[in-house]
């Protein structure tokens, strides 16, 4: 454990004092939402997009955020100042609160945790191997704390020496547990549009122009993925990361592709100029 501070319900405390009563609905019923962004040189990147999603997740789950966006921004600024970790991940969690009967939503508990994080550019060249898993996330457009399936399958991933899971719904590709997926085929770059979490990095990629290529939302299957020229995943920690194999079979040349590289650089320059 590092010596960082955590925000919890109006107070900034050392992280080893940041606790919730066991009556909290996250502990009792897995009930909560969160969001995660990174700071680069002290700047919370794309923070308004993350706020949009966070407040929307809260609303979808009938959880009230008792801070306005401005107040939340103030709180985050105070925490960043206190911790003084310029390159970090920032996670805000909103739980169902201390429920009298362990079932009804109460006044939510709001927690903000910061931990050192810096993007490692050398991961791009290594790429990822992924395993497909037939699973549809519940309430897919809401960033809930439900990661039962992903965490349960971690030991299996290790055993098979794979890096991540890829969820599909009976063959129709959805997303990785913590990242969106794209494929490149001929002159098209596409990412699933149905029953997924709309990643902020995904939305930034969808806004990039590459001459001679279209970039758009369009569902595809595991077969399409296997036959793609390039595949990559996106997230706020991973940026653009090439997928080199699916279920043990190489994708394309089995090496990071040119389009993935171009998108990665374009995203990095958006981040550094934010």
């Amino acid at each position: 454990m590092t010596n960082t501070y955590t925000y919890i319900n109006g107070q900034i405390v050392p992280e080893n004092e940041a606790k919730l009563l066991v009556t909290d609905l996250a502990i009792q019923r897995g009930y909560g939402i969160f969001d995660f962004l990174k700071t680069v040189n002290g700047k919370p990147i794309f923070i308004q997009d993350y706020f949009d999603r966070f407040y929307n997740s809260a609303k979808e789950m009938n959880l009230e955020v008792d801070l306005s966006r401005e107040e939340l921004y103030e709180v985050i600024s105070s925490l960043l100042e206190k911790n003084n970790i310029p390159n970090a991940g920032l996670k805000f969690i909103l739980t169902g609160g201390y429920s009298d009967d362990g079932y009804q939503i109460a006044k939510p508990n709001l927690i903000i945790v910061q931990a050192p994080f810096a993007y490692n550019h050398s991961n791009f060249a290594k790429g990822l191997s992924i395993l497909s898993c037939n699973y549809q996330r519940q309430l897919p457009s809401v960033k809930t704390i439900d990661y039962l399936q992903a965490i349960r399958l971690q030991p299996m991933l290790k055993l098979k020496q794979a890096d991540d899971l890829l969820y599909h719904n009976n063959g129709e590709v959805r997303e990785c547990p913590r990242a969106n997926i794209f494929l490149v085929k001929d002159n098209q770059i596409i990412t699933p549009k149905t029953d997924i979490l709309r990643g902020i990095t995904r939305s930034k990629i969808l806004g990039i122009n590459i001459a001679g290529y279209t970039i758009e939302e369009q569902d595809f299957t595991l077969d399409d993925l296997a036959k793609a020229d390039e595949v990559f995943i996106t997230s706020s920690t991973k940026n653009v990361l090439p997928v080199l194999s699916l279920d043990g079979n190489l994708i394309g040349s089995g090496k990071p592709g040119m389009i993935s590289a171009v998108l990665s650089e374009k995203l990095l320059s958006m981040i550094s100029s934010y």
Copy 2:
């Protein structure tokens, strides 16, 4: 809040001191399992059945229980003695533990909470109205803490003045969020067998003999339910509770049925002679 004591990782503490660090995987990722049983006159009813399920849930989720069954029984006995609440609910929760990276399973945290509870026989006559909801629980045979859907829909239930949800998978009946369901039609008493949590009370009902009736596991649809002679749900807190309407339409006579009443009495006598 009442003044009861809670067990947490080897210690018995006042419930307002029973806390977990926010790094716990239940708070970070909704990752945990639990079980719930009741004590009647100080006796934990059917406790070995609940232990079977609890240890199995832990195993399915790759969580280690660092207490043997005998040790867990000892802990529960100490807690019951300390609290001295003869009629109570006893909930044991096992979480993913304090994870360094908020993703990998760590040493689980074990919490045991006791709260006063006594079965209210007058609920039988009142019965329940239920609303159907197309939803398949993930990892259905494991008693995880995932109640996202049920808790999210509580405000809607209140608005429609219904008592509980009934999950079905595209018309095939599954279960209520915290109870199993049975129907009675002609001389058959059946309860779904596919993709459900196998309730302990459900298993006791399946073991009861009623002359002239068969009692067995068999899947059925919402249509079958609507046309049933009687419908009831079972759980450790509800025992046998008649369902009088589904989606606003009366079931059978719209009154608690004879078979439900007989099963309720037989179950109560099993409990009182336990």
